[in-house]
């Protein structure tokens, strides 16, 4: 299983539909300060079910929706599609490719879809349960957060072991 593609539309600074198609191995993301690199890793956290606006550097979850710029109007919805390759059947689902979609509207409503079928957050979390990609996963290290593992209290570090269990 690996991350096959990621599509952002109206998510943070990605006003227009942007798609990253990915391969196994090492993909390196580069670009100037403020261009949108960390917004991509926020998009992955978000589509996997992140519930805390603060973990996505915002104050309210609406902060993930493109808020406008000097030349563009704000949009009303943020959408991220994450496609996992499931040829090895690791995900408990019949498909060889699984698309997880999350949408958020200005009125605060959030939608989740698995392979275009509306579903609930719980179902997404259930699907990902054995992959280690659940809540508070350590497989995604946001910018500036690498030292938190050592600065946290010993009781908090046990979560690392539990995640690996």
């Amino acid at each position: 299983m690996y991350l096959k593609s990621l599509t952002l539309k109206g998510f943070k600074s990605f006003a227009d539909r942007s798609r990253l198609s990915l391969e196994p191995g090492v993909t390196v993301v580069v670009g100037p300060n403020g261009s949108g690199k960390s917004n991509i890793s926020d998009a992955v956290l978000w589509v996997l079910g992140e519930q805390s606006a603060k973990a996505l550097r915002g104050n309210a979850m609406e902060d993930v929706i493109f808020a406008g710029s000097s030349a563009r109007q704000a949009v009303g919805v943020a959408e991220v599609d994450l496609v996992l390759d499931n040829h090895d059947g690791q995900l408990p689902i019949e498909f060889s490719e699984v698309t997880i979609t999350r949408r958020m509207f200005r009125n605060g409503e959030s939608e989740y879809l698995i392979n275009q079928t509306p579903t609930r957050l719980m179902d997404v979390q259930e699907l990902l349960h054995d992959t280690g990609l659940g809540r508070d996963t350590h497989s995604i290290i946001s910018q500036g957060r690498i030292d938190e593992i050592l600065n946290s209290r010993p009781e908090e570090r046990r979560a690392l072991i539990e995640e690996a269990a």
Partner: protein, 160 residues
């Protein structure tokens, strides 16, 4: 549940010791349970000792030593329970050239069976890419992505 936690702890500790010794040649480190009699609630302490130094409190380690120790711990968890992919956002910003090379060599050793997405400003890290994605933002404040596949085979042939 108790046994599972202890079993996993032993495994992560074992991998942590190995990987720390790779990233800190001549150094040693281990994980310690703060309350071994209570596996359900015990905390986990990290003891790290770079070459030539006394075992010190974690807070006295330098910026780069802390990042590299945290990376060793993360990789130990990844080795214990592999994930489909990993995203590392400028995790190597505090490393000097020598430690950066060790970090890159370690990531490189996992390339065949792991997917990494690495955000960086470091030229050396860019050179390890199979695929390079450039993110840009024009004066209109909107992000765009542009990708470039790097033929590693050719890249390797021309640079050796």
């Amino acid at each position: 549940v108790r046994d599972r936690f202890l079993e996993t702890f032993e495994l992560v500790d074992h991998h942590f010791q190995d990987i720390f010794a790779l990233l800190f040649p001549g150094g040693q480190a281990s994980l310690i349970l703060t309350d071994p009699d209570e596996p359900e609630t015990t905390g986990v302490e990290v003891a790290a000792q770079p070459r030539g130094k006394r075992l010190q409190k974690m807070s006295l380690l330098s910026g780069g030593e802390k990042s590299l120790t945290a990376l060793a711990l993360l990789f130990a968890v990844y080795r214990t329970r592999p994930c489909p992919f990993y995203i590392l956002d400028e995790v190597e910003a505090a490393l000097d050239d020598t430690n950066l090379r060790r970090f890159i060599t370690f990531v490189d050793s996992l390339r065949a069976h792991t997917q990494f997405i690495v955000v960086t400003h470091q030229r050396r890290t860019m050179e390890t890419a199979d695929v390079l994605y450039g993110v840009s933002m024009q004066a209109d404040g909107v992000s765009k992505v542009v990708s470039q596949k790097i033929e590693r085979a050719t890249a390797e042939a021309t640079s050796s």
